[in-house]
Symmetry: C2
Subunit: 302 residues, 2 copies
């Protein structure tokens, strides 16, 4: 199952870090931005940046998370760079998570599932449009909106991460609301996630239906870790958003497993930090991944 | 404000129908599918179908809703057809709703907002990637995930529809859960929507922050209509999903305003129904829009 592959990758590289390729054009070094005049040029520059970055980090991290919004804003050309980035990362042996938070009713979720986790039949053959190992999804619509994503991989060849407790400041507005039964909305969503994943648990003990749990809300994360023993966490919010290794320790079990931590700006823009001053962007990104590994492991394994 | 334009369009055409361009390749007449060998061919055929359909309905409906999932599954070529469809519908004077149910934390929602409602600066000029009048969004992440969409149009030049009570069977799993305060999750989301729209109310009395409320759940829709006096409803679920004109009557106020009703398959595939047998697909679609108009008005104005 894909969750076993992800966890094996984390263990082999001894690094529970996923690099977030939220590659804003502004993050590129000036020489890569110079002379770009249109969306095609911007998209090509973004892919060139991603490629060098992937080359630099592929042996020190197990996975990348590619945030599609940063590509959609460049239209068709941006989405070409998105597809190329997924393909390139996969070819370098990385697990590829598409962060798209897709959601819709069954028939339409089926289309999204084809786009990101399955294939679209066309003219006697088929197309893997934006082929990913994992996709983030939003569960507000309930089970019949989630099932199509799982149906693409009945044996766990693909996985999803469902939003449970997100890292943003306003996430509590709905997610922290208490239900009549005393549980919060995020706990209830967490219980649905455990249920959706119950037939897709790998050898590692975690299922192919993971949860997004932000590093910025440790009290809630601690509850979720306890209530979701078979669910692996995708943990955003470390670094630029304010979450620290200490904050997210609660997402992990005593054996050091339980989640993978995303960093985007902290790695993509490492070359702008005093700490990595004078280093090329890719070398700085690599060093930032190694530093993040030390920072996380000291706490998670400590 | 864009909500005034939409409501004016409904009144001028005397038709609260929005045509859902969930154009599955399978929906195309056989002669348009013949010989298609790749995603480029499929996407071109889909756009050709949409174009003829838009030509046929542009004088009888005020708006189209384009469901992006059906295009994403054909990759970059599919998204080109999606962009072309938006542009073509707009050029024919139709209001364009992109149904994408996007959602993310603030910085990322900002990218989606640029892609669908705003513009992306590039090389001294700017790009309107998938320019729409309205975008559907998912509010599970709370206020700071919604604000970026509104910031693109501080004077209501653009609008959003937030998922409140969706048309699918499982929507109740989370949305119908009762909160401690006695309200349901969908009512709570409805209250947030009213608040988000409070500074964007047009001359029509409705705000540019609308709500998605399914025709398939009349009991819940009735409550929402009462609790959301300034919110305009985008109403899916009519026809193929099982909702009838009688079911969705509760989404409208006594003056006959309050919502716009989507039909996708019922219009796109009208030519396959016995009722429209022998008609070309575009003529059948036009007639289906007129028949839907009669069906809806008889109940809404009755």
């Amino acid at each position: 199952m894909i969750i076993d592959t992800l966890i094996k990758g984390i263990q082999e590289k001894d690094n529970p870090t996923v690099v977030g390729l939220d590659t804003s054009f502004d993050y590129l070094p000036e020489e890569m931005r110079a002379g770009v005049a249109d969306s095609k040029g911007a998209a090509e520059a973004i892919f060139a940046f991603n490629k060098k970055l992937i080359d630099a980090v592929a042996d020190v991290v197990p996975a990348v998370k590619v945030q599609i919004a940063y590509y959609e804003m460049y239209g068709v050309e941006g989405l070409r760079a998105f597809a190329q980035t997924l393909q390139y990362a996969k070819a370098q042996g990385l697990i590829v998570i598409t962060d798209a938070k897709r959601n819709d009713i069954g028939a339409t979720a089926e289309c999204y599932a084809k786009a990101f986790l399955g294939e679209t039949p066309v003219g006697g053959s088929s197309l893997r449009a934006f082929d990913s190992d994992f996709l983030t999804v939003n569960g507000y619509l309930g089970s019949d909106s989630i099932k199509p994503f799982l149906s693409k991989a009945p044996n766990g060849e693909k996985g999803i991460f469902v939003l449970v407790k997100t890292s943003n400041r306003s996430s509590g507005e709905l997610q922290d609301m208490k239900l009549e039964n005393g549980k919060t909305v995020y706990e209830y969503m967490g219980a649905l996630v455990e249920e959706w994943g119950s037939t897709l648990v790998g050898e590692c003990g975690y299922s192919c239906v993971g949860a997004v749990v932000g590093a910025t809300h440790p009290a809630q994360a601690e509850i979720l870790r306890r209530e979701m023993p078979h669910t692996f966490f995708l943990i955003p919010g470390y670094g630029a958003q304010g979450g620290t290794a200490n904050d997210l320790k609660v997402c992990f079990k005593a054996d050091g497993t339980g989640g993978i931590v995303n960093s985007s700006r902290g790695i993509l823009c490492a070359y702008r930090q005093d700490r990595y001053k004078g280093m090329p962007f890719d070398a700085a990104a690599r060093q930032a991944c190694l530093d993040m590994k030390s920072d996380l492991n000291a706490v998670i394994k400590g």
